[in-house]
Symmetry: D2
Subunit: 184 residues, 4 copies
């Protein structure tokens, strides 16, 4: 009858994006329900993003391209706004040969933090977010993640399958305590 | 009534080891049935092993230590035998601070290739072998493997569960066409 | 009697810079005569600059800080001009913690290539230019240079000393065939 | 009239080697007088040697091959003697494709430290020793050295020239306070 606001906490908040690169049509998490999703939140002038997390995301796209994993970038500019405009981002994406879809996070209305970054309560960049097939946040990690661990985390989501008829509405398995996987 | 010899092809051959390092008691694949296993076959003077595959195996042990993955090394000396004796191996293991169990492959009787290496038809070192919970070879890879891909391969084995009563004898699910996982 | 125009070819062209970062007062090659100079020409969105040549230049500044080597950066934007403005460069310099003086190359009047880049006939970025104590170009290299080789090239300039009275006007030792070092 | 024993302290002690690899005839520092020398003292099972200092020495040989720099390795086994015999060293040199001459340090008579290592009072491996054209130790460094710094140190030795007649006996410029270079 009515949405349980507590329950919604665990669901991955929808992306709020002003424009997309590397995709012909806008992307929404709602549209990706049923597929695991990895979101790499970065800033183009963040050294840790450029040296580690962005090439890692590019490698994730390549290595898991035969799976139904959705690989997304999110440009969450929360500092040096004048230096990291969409114009600069497009040049960056071109020079670094990035091919995964990248959304520009919607600027904040009252402060420097953009909207999606705020909704996820990210601490900074790089942040890696893993979302399971039911649209729930499986992990949200700030800083560098080792490739071995990230590969395992992605595969854990890929190995999850929505098995019974009762799971057809993926929202049903999200609870305030987290998202339970009936296959475990 | 009788063992099907073809069926046995897909089962991981038992290790033939003359001595073990980093473990108090000898290890057998039979004893590990039910757990996924990663075997890193190496030579202590193989540059690609030393720079990439051995530290990768050490990282695998650390990252997956909370799981039931078994991490094994296998010293498969097929060249420079006088230079890579067990005495040298022990000094190597000490200097490189390796902590995973390492077996010394049994020398071959008629040629330079040791027995386990021959049984697996390995091409050289480094070779990484992944064995599933049912004791079947899931993958056998020669050369360097990317961490992202290896992490995913390991997690795929960890996510497999033997679910029904009919699976209690893991040998039943091995066929000449490979080892089928009933959960897929 | 008159300046030999050919002779001038070997002298390092003066820098044409619209603004400087990391220095209180503008820098000129004329003002640095008598000291060896390394100029690292880069673009902030050039991947090879960011991953290799810029950290190398930062290391050069640190390792040779006890010498009289002058370490300069030059932002030679010849593409994506709207993406690599001085505003973006300042954010980049801040985020990457760069401490060596960096000049912004003067935009070209009739094309995309800035003036100093054109005067030196650079092929692209990264370009490393070494100038000796007499103000002559000792080396100009496009692409990545190994640290061992660069360290040696810098030391070769540092080891040169203007020894005799006849060398007090450093222009005298520049010839159309290059800059001869009387100490060799 | 007579040798000053104190003066001899600064002269590089002669190598005491039981056998040489990668050279047809034995090498002595006496025979190299007039040329700068770099000696990389290592153990084949020393991780810091294998990952950093040995490839660095190989790169030094390649980068400075047009100069008169002499590049030497010295296998200074002071631990795990049974594991690092000349037989093992030869396999190691073969597998790692090392091409610079390598001497096996003479075993110590009363302890684990070999003779040349003791004469130089080395603290361990890797140790890098630089010897100038006059046969004096210019630098002796324990641990990893940055390529930029090592390149500069080598070039400083290469740039030194024995200029006057008074320098023909290189021992004359060695004093208890170090080896003075008349060109500075």
């Amino acid at each position: 009858m009515f949405a349980d606001p507590v329950q919604e906490i665990e669901r991955a908040p929808e992306l709020q994006v002003t424009e997309w690169l590397n995709t012909k049509s806008p992307i929404s998490l709602k549209g990706l329900l049923g597929r695991p999703v990895i979101i790499h939140a970065f800033q183009m002038l963040c050294p840790g993003c450029v040296s580690h997390a962005i090439p890692q995301t590019q490698n994730v796209q390549r290595i898991f391209e035969q799976t139904d994993l959705a690989v997304l970038g999110l440009h969450t500019v929360f500092e040096h706004h004048a230096a990291m405009t969409p114009v600069s981002l497009r040049a960056f994406v071109h020079e670094y040969r990035l091919t995964f879809p990248i959304g520009v996070d919607h600027p904040g209305e009252t402060g420097p933090t953009p909207r999606t970054m705020a909704a996820y309560q990210m601490r900074g960049t790089p942040t890696t977010i893993l979302i399971d097939r039911k649209g729930c946040i499986s992990a949200q990690l700030f800083g560098q993640i080792e490739d071995l661990a990230l590969g395992a985390m992605i595969q854990a989501l890929l190995s999850e399958h929505i098995q019974s008829a009762g799971d057809t509405d993926p929202r049903d398995v999200c609870t305030p305590n987290g998202c339970s996987d009936p296959s475990f």
